[in-house]
């Protein structure tokens, strides 16, 4: 069902946990649908993401997507991080079953949501998430399995 890469990130998820004094926190998804992702960002004065942690309630691919997304933005400038797409997450994971694609979307949105929080708190403008609203419609759980 899952690629080796997905399983590897699921088995050993990177960056699990909280950041007490996070500069940005984003949470998307809801328990009803079975996935919640929460991302914590530590961002330095040059807008570089120096630390990132996540907490995820969800399936294997949700955990792997969170892990991969945090890896992909760690050490990056916020402008780079905001450009992270779910496609990039999927690619980095070597693919996801079609019914699990929403997990990667969730990861993208969790990152954006945390950046939006940082932007709001810090008064900065990050191009691309000016009016950020996480999209609730990504949970197309009835999709046919690949």
């Amino acid at each position: 069902m899952y690629t080796e890469k997905v399983m590897e990130h699921f088995r050993n998820p990177r960056n699990v946990g909280e950041i007490e004094d996070a500069d940005g926190i984003g949470q998307v998804g809801n328990a009803k649908c079975g996935d919640i992702m929460k991302i914590f960002l530590k961002i330095d004065e040059n807008d570089i993401i120096t630390d990132v942690k996540f907490l995820t309630f969800g399936c294997g691919s949700a955990i792997a997507s969170s892990s991969m997304a945090t890896e992909l933005i760690k050490g990056k400038h916020i402008d780079e991080a905001v450009a992270l797409t779910n496609k990039a997450v999927i690619e980095a994971l070597g693919g996801l079953p079609r019914v699990k694609v929403h997990c990667s979307v969730l990861a993208e949105q969790a990152v954006k949501s945390a950046l939006f929080d940082y932007a709001t708190k810090s008064g900065k403008v990050i191009a691309g998430i000016e009016d950020y609203q996480p999209d609730e419609d990504v949970h197309d759980h009835d999709d046919e399995q690949l």
């Binding site: 699921f10 088995r11 328990a31 649908c33 079975g34 907490l55 309630f57 294997g60 955990i63 759980h141």
Partner: protein, 388 residues
């Protein structure tokens, strides 16, 4: 690594005696039972004797047993066959909210085609209300289809009482006994069961073989029309090896039923008592005592079932979350919804289903691993961490 198979409600390991029986018919005895030459006739006799064995498990007459291609076919046939054949009598069928999809989706299909379906509620243990059942019967009611035991939470319905009500009101009673057949005693005569579905692969028999018991005299349309097999009620060249394998498995199940019910429920009860002691925030799903000997179902709050299964799989433990038959979908199980679980708790459900091949060591090993896995997932869960 230790391998612990705890998904026997999904499917079971085939007994080696069953495989041997089947191989006999894959070998020299491959004849078509409808043929008149000698070894076609041998196949025919084998089917007759299989029919007797299967009938004896539920105290039916052999000529009331029809072989099918599995439990789903049996359910579809029972419901569509009876409803269409008795259309003049009425168009109403009563079932429950916790049936297997083979029953539910069949009823939904009927509903789209001019039939009326009542879905009975169940209480938090998964039991229907006999009063509600009785009240829902009306002039147009043709049949009641209520499962013997639930595949997810293991709850066993008051079948005899349901049969009595159906009989009193002159409506037919079908029960999906796929999870109960060969596992707990069934007597179609005493329980007033008119139709009963069973499937071989749930009792260490082959996949793709099932049966429908149809009480003599009941009007039922064919689901599969064609050749004259199965007294013209179910067409298709008989799956002789499969049927004989099913019968062998049924015979073995019947012979050892009492012992197995006792020994398997001891293991089950160890799970039922130990898990809540060792893991906080768990909820038992299904009735505490009126449940299948091999069924364990818990919800672990704050975590999601698939992750749980995958981590358990890494420890060599095979289990299930919600019905295995529907794991293609990610919707929380309709059964867990029907017993009133909130979505997030339904998502965290785990079914462990035992067979005679499980040991106490399996149980101890599973509990130990489960403690670690649940802890690990909770440490990742925003629902759990926030709570602290």
């Amino acid at each position: 690594m230790r391998q612990v198979y705890l998904d026997n409600a999904a499917t079971t390991m085939v007994h080696k005696e069953v495989v041997e029986t089947m191989n006999k018919y894959y070998g020299n005895l491959f004849g078509n039972p409808s043929s008149i030459y000698d070894f076609g006739q041998t196949a025919k006799k084998a089917i007759s004797s299989a029919r007797e064995k299967i009938a004896s498990v539920i105290n039916a007459n052999p000529d009331e047993v029809y072989f099918t291609g599995g439990g789903s076919e049996s359910d579809n046939w029972a419901i569509k066959g009876v409803m269409t054949a008795n259309r003049k009598k009425g168009n109403h069928i009563i079932t429950t909210k916790i049936e297997h999809h083979a029953v539910l989706h069949t009823c939904e299909y009927l509903a789209k085609n001019g039939y009326e379906v009542t879905y009975l509620n169940v209480d938090s243990d998964g039991l229907i209300s006999l009063k509600a059942l009785e009240e829902s019967i009306k002039d147009t009611t043709v049949m009641v289809s209520i499962m013997f035991a639930n595949n997810e939470i293991g709850t066993i319905q008051p079948i005899k009482e349901i049969g009595d009500i159906a009989k009193r009101h002159g409506v037919l009673f079908h029960t999906d006994a796929v999870q109960a057949f060969g596992h707990v005693p069934i007597d179609v005569k005493e329980m007033n069961i008119d139709l009963l579905s069973a499937s071989a692969h749930k009792i260490h028999g082959p996949k793709g073989v099932g049966m429908l018991y149809v009480r003599k005299g009941i009007k039922i349309d064919n689901l599969i029309h064609g050749g004259a097999q199965e007294s013209k009620k179910r067409a298709g060249t008989e799956n002789v090896p499969g049927i004989c394998g099913f019968a062998k498995a049924a015979e073995m199940a019947l012979e050892t039923m009492n012992d197995k019910m006792a020994s398997i429920s001891v293991l089950r009860d160890k799970f039922l008592t130990e898990i809540p002691k060792k893991i906080e925030n768990v909820k038992l799903n299904g009735h505490p005592t009126k449940r299948l000997p091999g069924n364990v179902n818990f919800s672990f709050e704050f975590i999601e079932g698939e992750s749980l299964l995958l981590y358990l799989d890494m420890e060599g433990i095979s289990a299930s979350s919600g019905s295995a038959c529907t794991s293609g979908s990610l919707d929380p199980s309709h059964v867990l919804m029907a017993i009133g679980l909130p979505h997030e708790i339904a998502h965290g459900s785990l079914r462990l289903s035992l067979s005679e091949f499980n040991t106490e060591e399996d149980v101890d090993y599973t509990i130990e691993k489960l403690i670690g896995v649940v802890h690990r997932l909770r440490q990742m869960s925003p629902l759990y961490i926030r709570r602290k």
